[in-house]
Symmetry: C2
Subunit: 281 residues, 2 copies
């Protein structure tokens, strides 16, 4: 579990690092970013996991997400994993941004040729936490998770499957019903095969319908998001949460799109919301 330091830079009083390691789950080198706030000099800090959207690496949110000021204010470690395995010998489809590199969907592929490397659920759920808790001053009993778009899907499904691990979950413009969204259906079919009963374990709305629970959910969604109708469909999350009795705060943000100009606007809000829950006794 040795990790290689790609870069470490002081920012907002803390340390923004980028690290690389050999991943067993993905069978390749994986890169991730960690921000350690100044408070970590005194005691282990809570960890807030941020999962990114399609086409992103660890770097997009690190550069454009504007999370460091709030993380330093509240004393949170922010971990930003990559979105897929990647490398010259990792299967990919050229010029397709919805499958393959940058589009891991935080699931474990079972189908050829994806299965040998595309194990992002195992990677985020098991392998990367081991590495983070072994190498950073992070408190394993204080974890929360959030993400954007495909990463919102990742955050919500992982939180629903590990409600005891995460104290809170939120998302920016999440994919909440991938089984009904064309971009996700193609990837799910490629990675998991044609049996849609298996897909149900990886769909937020379906997981909730099937009985999975979290204590509450916060979602911000721009109403000028070009993916709103065909890909994101927050009304389906609203319906599922209402039926299940899960308190959902869904804030439709007028004029906002799907970009980091949107995410960065509400980043500090989300961090404050998670911090309140992570710092509770």
């Amino acid at each position: 579990m040795t990790i290689e330091v790609v870069s470490e830079v002081i920012s907002h009083g803390g340390m923004q690092g980028v690290y690389r390691h050999k991943s067993t789950a993905c069978g390749c080198d994986m890169t991730f970013a960690v921000f350690v706030p100044p408070q970590a000099a005194n005691a282990p800090c809570p960890v807030l996991w941020y999962l990114s959207g399609l086409t992103c690496t660890h770097a997009n949110v690190m550069e454009k997400g504007e999370y460091r000021r709030a993380a330093a204010d509240y004393g949170l470690i922010i971990v930003c994993p990559d979105t897929s395995p990647r490398g010259d010998n990792i299967h990919d489809i050229a010029d397709d941004w919805q499958i393959g590199t940058g589009a891991g969907f935080y699931i474990d592929a079972t189908e050829a040729p994806w299965a040998p490397h595309y194990s992002m659920e195992t990677y985020i759920r098991d392998e990367l936490p081991e590495i983070v808790f072994a190498n950073f001053p992070a408190a394993p009993d204080r974890q929360s998770i959030f993400g954007h778009s495909m990463g919102g899907h990742g955050a919500l499904t992982l939180a629903l499957k590990q409600p005891d691990r995460f104290r809170s979950v939120s998302a920016f413009a999440p994919i909440v019903n991938p089984m009904a969204a064309e971009w996700a259906r193609r990837a799910f079919g490629a990675y998991l095969g044609d049996d849609e009963t298996i897909w149900r374990h990886h769909d937020t709305c379906v997981l909730i319908d099937d009985g999975a629970r979290v204590s509450e959910i916060l979602v911000d969604q721009g109403d000028a998001d070009p993916f709103l109708e065909a890909g994101l469909m927050p009304d389906r999350l609203e319906a599922a949460c209402k039926c299940a009795g899960i308190p959902l705060t869904l804030r439709m943000q007028p004029g906002y799109d799907h970009s980091y100009f949107f995410i960065s606007t509400f980043m500090a809000d989300h961090i404050a919301w998670h911090a309140e829950r992570l710092r509770a006794p």
Copy 2:
């Protein structure tokens, strides 16, 4: 003076736009970014000009500078110009990041082959302000300026030459004595020729020694900046300001480097400092 909208995106309650126009000064299309805060819906807002460093376009600070939250809080318009003319028919030296594209140094070149296009001082001083005040709800009597590295040089020299235009000037890791810094000497020689008496009009420390004045200066400088000794030399600004009686707040920031991880850390501080001066009666 028509401008073309490249993009406009809602962010932090305001509008982050990118615009393109035919520049007379530079003889090519020029691109710039403008953030208009929500307060502009009610009345013209003060303008804070941000000049970027070597290799940058308008986009670096727009994506990584984290200025929108503070600008929206204080109701400031932020204008981020490009750092040089650019285009297929604009002279450049391949693989040289210190001269040519991205390295305009905010001066007007007099020497071939640079003179026809490299007129960044005229562009920033005269042409772009006309465009900004014609197209945005900006108050010409409330302007301030800041910048990073080469852009700190630009901000300081322009403020010293137009003390009545700018209410305040600050910089992140500015080049303050380009005549003594190897990277700047090469560019100055190429753009202005060998007569160093002409260079004196474009050097902050020399302008101050020669009698130019501003009311005060704020500078943040990382002490782990790799360019500190050979290129930035803040002690020379300190000496010049002391001798001239210009109040300088020079904050050496321990552990910080030259990147946007540094800039973004102190961005809100600088914006608050300018806002105080821009909003005074």
